[in-house]
Subunit: 291 residues, 2 copies
């Protein structure tokens, strides 16, 4: 699977950074996290927007959702027929219905909109867990959890037991199977499985305790708006150090910082991050990360 | 004065073209015509958004207004204090109030929103005339009309008559003045005046008859969505040829085509336009035109 950082700015876009938007290409689908203004144009450079199946909005500050209506309209102009799923925090349904009444919008496909709190949604091959974060307005973080993969069949052992032909797929579907009067479990004839990939995205937030599902994330994408605690003032954002501490707390393999404030030089952020976490990168617009 | 073509796309943005947005820098102000998604980021390359005083929206199809909320928010984050004026067709007030209720928006300065039909607005040094066009939904075109300038003072003649000191500014303010019992008009002591610059913008429209104020425009900016009449089908847009005919009809000095459809090569549009109007250019993103 592959992550595309389509927008990595803080609240204001800059010459180098578009507002927040992260795409995850998993199998043949694309999942979007946030969709700031101009995201549809960034996509032209990296992904096919027709492949976007579901969009997760962390919260309704303008920089995180104002690319939605343009994207939705362009999908309609491109004759999309597949439904599009949009998930977000409390208020999403009212906000989007206001947004769709902000001009003349005719949408030629179905929109499925759902509000989340702490929820786990099961999809084909993965789940998404949403969890509340601390940003002053209803806001979510998300954990992408690829399904665990079973180990390969131990064909020798399977033959010994008498498995053959369609029995393999039956066993896979059911999890267990009666063979010559004996109950065989899938684990009896397969090797060691592989844990599915986990990607945690903080959204915009002050430091929070992430849910247990975030433990051992392969990637933590965390906002890092400030360098110094004193700059935060009344805002609900994290410092670079706090993002690193969050990565430590969940034992993330890799940390990618985003929501980058234009007031700092990239080198300053990098230096501060390296002081606190080893495997860390600063997101850049159009950056691709293979996982 | 200077025109900046910040976005020149048709309904969908492309790699080369952002959605519609035209900025006119006149004296120390900037006036915006349309504000498609991503316009605020285009501005970073050409104009200071803090200088934008008033924005004219032709109509409420997404490509023409979806850059407004992001721009308005960024102005607020930049501590704007000056009021911002927004003008648009029937429906503007309701559409914008829905738009502002599509998320958490706090705006730290005053917005002045006004709906126009066929109206003439007087500002310092220029007027804007709005006129209805034919686009299926309430839609406007706009004419920017710089005030006419008086000719220079003929100082010899003025001295002969007996004008001196503060009398010059008094005459200029009042238009006429009594000097030694004789009524002197401003025109008596000034040379030939200069007509103010006129710029007409069609917005999106099928061919319409422009108001008489458009006659002799220095620049006509006209949409040119199609090459062939047969491609238009049920849509309310113009062909390149029709845009050229409009320029002919008002006796425009110069024609600039915009709202460029990604399905054509630039060279095709150029060749077709040159067949029908001499002084014609195809707008490109970030193009600047000094007038």
């Amino acid at each position: 699977m592959k992550l595309y950082f389509l927008g990595t700015a803080g609240s204001k876009p800059t010459l180098e950074r578009n507002p927040p938007c992260i795409a995850l290409a998993f199998r043949k689908d694309v999942i979007l996290f946030d969709c700031g203004e101009g995201s549809q144009r960034q996509m032209i450079k990296r992904i096919k927007q027709s492949k976007i199946k579901r969009i997760f909005i962390t919260h309704f500050h303008g920089d995180h959702y104002l690319g939605l209506p343009g994207l939705i309209m362009t999908m309609s102009l491109n004759d999309r027929k597949d439904p599009l799923e949009i998930y977000g925090p409390e208020g999403t349904i009212e906000f989007l219905s206001n947004l769709f009444r902000s001009g003349y919008m005719e949408i030629g496909y179905e929109l499925m909109i759902r509000e989340l709190k702490e929820d786990t949604l099961e999809f084909e091959g993965y789940s998404i867990k949403s969890f509340p974060v601390d940003h002053g307005v209803p806001s979510l973080g998300f954990i992408f959890m690829e399904d665990d993969r079973r180990g390969a069949f131990n064909t020798e052992k399977a033959k010994e037991i008498g498995l053959e032909g369609k029995m393999f797929s039956l066993l896979e579907e059911e999890g267990e199977l009666e063979v010559s009067g004996r109950i065989i479990k899938l684990g009896d004839v397969t090797g060691k499985g592989r844990h599915g990939v986990r990607i945690t995205y903080s959204g915009d937030t002050r430091p929070v305790k992430f849910p247990s599902e975030a433990k051992g994330s392969d990637v933590l994408i965390h906002e890092a708006t400030f360098l110094e605690d004193s700059e935060r003032k009344e805002t609900y954002h994290s410092t670079v150090k706090e993002a690193c501490e969050a990565a430590d707390a969940i034992g993330a393999v890799r940390l990618i910082l985003t929501h980058i404030n234009s007031r700092y030089a990239q080198s300053e952020i990098e230096a501060e991050a390296k002081r606190h976490f080893g495997n860390v990168a600063i997101a850049e617009d159009l950056m691709e990360v293979e996982i």
